[in-house]
């Protein structure tokens, strides 16, 4: 199977998306808001350039974040890949055509993301990631749930809210881009209302 190629425009979009996700993540963390919103760039790439570009943006974004500011994020590279792939797939079937569809798509993306991330969190990091989700996992463990279920439910809960908001924000960003720029990405036709 031949992999799709990325043109110069897509490469620059991916690079910008990686930077956006890293600095937005940092800003949200500084504001002490109990969300991540660190996939806005990936979702935007998914709408503009499709699943392959978004999967590359997701995997590379975590790899680069891991090499610079969050070294323990490196094992989560498959999670970034999965987020991009799912977001691009949903964009292809029109999952980002309206704001409410974008929110539903975001929430749907949270499900496979959790399925991929939970085994990594539990088996590699002992159920702890250093984020606010740990409090929810701790609580569920304290009330008698098993570690894997606690981490799974805590992450799914946060993921559904976080990714649906991310979907909404990415929808707003992509639809406010200059027409000259957005129309140069033919894939974006799948996300126009």
């Amino acid at each position: 199977m031949k992999l799709p190629t990325l043109d110069a425009r897509a490469l620059i979009l991916i690079s910008a998306a990686i930077v956006i996700d890293n600095v937005v993540g940092e800003t949200v963390y500084l504001l002490k808001i109990p969300l991540f919103l660190d996939c806005i760039g990936i979702f935007t790439v998914a709408m503009l350039a499709g699943p392959f570009a978004a999967a590359v943006a997701g995997a590379l974004g975590i790899f680069i974040g891991g090499l610079t500011v969050q070294p323990f994020a490196l094992p989560f590279v498959p999670v970034g890949f999965m987020i991009g792939l799912t977001a691009g797939g949903l964009a292809r079937i029109g999952g980002f055509r309206t704001w409410w569809l974008a929110m539903i798509s975001g929430a749907l993306i949270g499900i496979p993301t959790t399925l991929v991330s939970v085994p990594i969190i539990v088996f590699l990091f002992g159920g702890v990631t250093g984020s606010g989700v740990d409090f929810a996992s701790d609580y569920l463990v304290a009330v008698g749930s098993t570690l894997i279920k606690s981490v799974g439910f805590a992450n799914l809960g946060i993921s559904l809210i976080d990714k649906s908001l991310t979907g909404l924000i990415a929808f707003m960003i992509a639809n406010r881009l200059p027409l000259r720029l957005s129309t140069s990405f033919r894939f974006f036709a799948h996300s126009r209302g």
Binding site: T5, L6, A8, R9, L11, I12, L13, I14, S15, A16, I18, V19, I20, N22, V23, V24, E26, T27, V28, L30, L31, K32, I33, I40, T44, V56, L60, G61, F63, I64, G66, L67, T68, P71, F72, L74, P75, L124, F125, G126, G127, V128, G130, D134, S137, D138, V141, A142, G144, L147, I169, I173, L177, R180, L181, S184
Partner: protein, 261 residues
């Protein structure tokens, strides 16, 4: 060019020094880093902790001793506390003993210790890589190794853009604060502040996308499968052999226990 590099170096984790690690090819350091990640997953905690100690000693030898241990401690202490709480106190294990109103599990603490050692080893290796390797050198070494220009660009471009954008983010934050925006108030105030911080940031990142694409295309980016590098980081046959051995070892040491189990 040197001035630009020095300016960028001040904003990255990279530390300008003339240590032995700085002289190594970035790909050699990257491979050593990947080996450490793989080793940290499979080695017993005592050996993993030995990797951390070796990494910290290496940091002092490499002239980055002022950065690596401080960053390591700042990251690992909260994680260690969270792990100790979860595994030492919250998860019910057969060996737990009462301690006042609480129940503690020695096995839980041992497990938490093994995870902390694993994360610390990965963190130390990663910090050693980023403090002794300039992103520009990563790009040059990937080009010199014959990696596709697109892959080299995708790895190096965000690394080079990340710090300038973080600086711009801080500038936007300061500007909004100067206009009276409350970034430390109630959670409602903080949520309301979010669009005012994010919109300029995202617009800034995407605004010159068209222009940058034109620049790349006008320079025939990707026209050749392999780019010629004028200032490739030093490399040697010994380092190349080391990379191959360490790369293979990283895969084997991870695969064998997995297949064994």
């Amino acid at each position: 060019m040197d001035r630009q590099r020095a300016q960028a170096a001040r904003t990255l984790l990279f530390v300008t020094a003339a240590g032995p690690l700085h002289a190594l090819n970035p790909l050699t350091k990257l491979m050593a880093f990947l080996w450490t990640v793989s080793a940290a997953i499979v080695l017993p905690p005592t050996l993993t902790l030995a990797l951390v100690v070796a990494g910290v000693v290496l940091a002092y030898v490499a002239g980055v001793g002022g950065v690596v241990p401080a960053k390591l401690v700042a990251t690992i202490v909260p994680l260690a506390a969270a792990l100790a709480l979860m595994h030492g106190f919250l998860i019910v294990r057969p060996d737990e003993v009462p301690l006042g109103p609480l129940h503690v599990s020695p096995a839980g603490f041992r497990y938490a210790y093994s995870v902390v050692a694993r994360i610390a080893a990965m963190l130390t290796a990663s910090l050693l890589f980023v403090t002794t390797t300039h992103p520009g050198d990563v790009l040059a070494s990937l080009d010199a190794a014959g990696v596709s220009p697109a892959v080299g660009y995708l790895i190096a471009s965000p690394l080079l853009l990340l710090e300038p954008f973080s600086k711009r983010t801080r500038a936007i934050r300061d500007a909004q604060r100067a206009r009276g925006m409350n970034l430390t108030g109630t959670w409602k105030a903080r949520v309301r502040a979010l669009p005012a911080l994010l919109v300029p940031l995202v617009t800034l990142a995407l605004s010159d996308l068209d222009h940058r694409a034109m620049v790349l295309e006008s320079r025939a980016f990707g026209g050749e499968k392999r780019r010629t590098v004028l200032d490739a980081p030093p490399d040697s046959r010994g380092q190349s052999r080391f990379r191959r051995i360490v790369g293979a070892l990283a895969v084997v040491q991870l695969a064998v226990p997995l297949l064994w189990h």
